[in-house]
């Protein structure tokens, strides 16, 4: 039954038929990926997220570390875009007070005090990309401090601005994912490659190891390891320790993919041809094998990233991962751990949105890549 048509042929109009025979593997992948609408949306979302990682300080307007006792647990304040019909973005002045009866903090906006927002305004000092010292921010105010005026997403119990903290958290959470996935990739390609290449006893041992790792519940294990990190370690040390802990378990799926491709490709004629023409083992691996399953590895890596991000977020949420004063999505969500705090300031749940969005985006892109990785398959 060969009545069904290969998807690539189907995807391309007949007059283009000739093109697919001369297209490179990457072109074919791109053509197929492009057709995957959700994957394209996901890709755009990921690009935006990583732009935010690069320009986290620029997009922030308040110093994420600065506490403002007078503006603690402040609900989000809207930005008014128009003033009397003209485009003049501004926020209203806010006064904090205590309710004399309940002692609860209440905030009152003053409709008469209009504080205009400026683009590329001056704010707290930072180093752009870690090298260029500047104090320009996307938005800010001319008079007074942004910390006391703008509250896009409200503040936490210490009066720190949630929007700016969210940006700082995005930087940590998304890079920690990248670093751990890179480590996992290394371990996965190493063990998967060994397993697929040598087979036999090596393969058996590595496969059993992977099975064992997969059948151990990861979170308790991570918790145990993370809790053992010395308390006096610096933020950077903890950051790398957490990366290593996360990637220790995360490599198994990548190893599985690499091994599977190795096993499948080892039997291919072009590998045999290379062997017969006297190519060395290393040349065969890096010139012939790796390029032909690169696309699969990229797809598997993309699907592994969200797992890493969830892991970091979960650990930090429990207080065992990234520790304050460092900021990550998990650290931010830790503030929302109890019902009391969420009931009092529900906006503390906002960091959940980027977590879900970025995981969705990575899953979409990963799915799209996986489908596209096999341009001749179904």
């Amino acid at each position: 039954m060969t009545e069904r048509i290969l998807p690539v042929e189907a995807a391309i109009a007949p007059e283009q038929g000739e093109r697919i025979f001369v297209a490179s593997q990457w072109q074919l992948m791109w053509w197929r990926f492009r057709k995957h609408r959700l994957a394209m949306i996901g890709a755009v979302a990921i690009i935006i997220f990583y732009l935010a990682v690069i320009g986290a300080d620029f997009i922030s307007y308040s110093d994420p570390e600065v506490t403002e006792a007078n503006f603690s647990q402040m609900p989000p304040q809207p930005v008014r875009l128009f003033d009397g019909g003209a485009f003049r973005p501004h926020v209203l002045g806010v006064k904090g007070a205590r309710d004399p009866n309940t002692f609860k903090r209440v905030f009152q906006t003053d409709p008469n005090v209009k504080i205009p927002l400026r683009f590329f305004a001056r704010g707290y000092k930072y180093e752009f990309l870690g090298i260029i010292p500047t104090d320009r921010h996307l938005i800010g105010v001319d008079e007074g401090r942004a910390e006391e005026t703008i509250f896009l997403l409200g503040t936490d119990t210490l009066g720190r601005d949630l929007w700016s903290r969210l940006m700082a958290g995005t930087r940590v959470s998304l890079t920690i994912g990248l670093v751990s996935v890179a480590l996992s990739l290394f371990l996965g390609v190493l063990f998967g490659g060994l397993s697929g290449l040598y087979g036999g006893a090596v393969d058996t041992v590595i496969q059993r190891l992977i099975e064992i790792l997969r059948s151990i519940p990861t979170i308790p294990l991570w918790m145990g390891l993370a809790a053992g990190l010395p308390r006096n370690w610096t933020v950077l040390q903890v950051y790398f320790a957490i990366t290593i802990i996360i990637s220790l378990v995360g490599w198994t799926e990548l190893a599985r993919v690499v091994r599977g491709r190795f096993l499948a490709l080892r039997e291919e004629d072009f590998v045999m041809a290379a062997e017969l023409s006297g190519c060395s083992q290393w040349r065969i691996i890096f010139r012939h094998l790796v390029p032909s399953f690169m696309s699969h590895i990229i797809a598997a890596t993309t699907l592994a990233l969200p797992v890493m991000i969830i892991s970091e977020t979960s650990l930090s949420f429990l207080g065992l991962g990234i520790r304050p004063p460092a900021i990550s999505w998990g650290v931010l969500l830790q503030d929302a751990q109890s019902l009391q705090s969420v009931a009092l300031s529900p906006w503390l749940l906002i960091p959940a949105i980027p977590v879900i969005a970025v995981i969705l985006a990575f899953n979409f892109v990963g799915d799209g890549l996986r489908d596209a990785a096999d341009p001749y398959g179904v």
Binding site: M1, E3, A10, G17
Partner: protein, 339 residues
Amino acid sequence: MENEEQPILSVRNLKTFFFMDEGTVRAVEDASFDVEPGKTLGIVGESGCGKSVTVRSILRIVERPGRIVGGQILLYRNAAGDRPGHVDLTQLEANGPEMLAIRGDEIALVFQEPMTSLSPVHTIGNQLIEAILLHRQVSRREAREIAAELLHQVGIPRPAGRLEEYSFQLSGGLRQRAMIAIALSCDPRLLIADEPTTALDVTTQGQILDLLRSLQEERGMAIILITHDLGVIAEMADDVVVMYLGQTVEKGPVDDIFHAPKHPYTQSLLQSIPSIHSRPRVNLPTISGSVPHPYNRPSGCPFHPRCPEYIVGTCETRAPSLAPVGERQEASCFLYEDA
């Protein structure tokens, strides 16, 4: 007897299209043929010519997005009481009770891949007994006995024990025999064998073909045999239908087709068979070009781009239709239009 004249199945101008997002694939464009009772009809053609879709259309098991869009498939029966003499299968509901009663009971199917045609997680007996219970009013115990008897008839040794076995425990030849047993379970009047021997080695092929022939003699059932192997056709078929791109291009008795092929496609096909009379070290004639892309169906006669006798100005503009070219032979070609 008038039954001699009446076919048991008559396919007329069948069209089955697949409606894909990217366009419509005309898998069967214009297929017409008759199946005589007790005879074997061979359908031959290159892969992708619509043979399999044609028989799936007969059984009404074409999968979406495929659909029968035109033509008739007439199944003839002995008229009795108010029962009509024939029924048009294209008019029945694909999964309605009438069609279910015909499928497996009056018309049965043997498939090309014995490896995958049987469920990997059910025993042979389970699938065989299921087929028997579905169409016959017998108890489970009786069905079991019938099943063992069927396995015996198709030449499977130790039939009672085999009922408990799974398909992966049988060899390819035995699997195909088991498939045939399932197909025969309800004594069908028409057996459709879709490339029944393609996946088997040559010796087993011969055995399976012998089995089909002897079963046909015993039961007097008609067979539609689909294959791309002209040798099998020569050995087995009484009549032949040649298909190209979903169209019947020529049909007729096997001797006429082999000795006096009329359609250029049939002629090219026959020339491309190696024979012991071929001169050594001479290239076999091949058909020039390749089967067109399914979305790229040629206009007019679908064979014209590859045809050695292409009549410029006619073949690419109009589609020929089947016309008699001999006593019982018909071809769809402009070469014979005025003859």
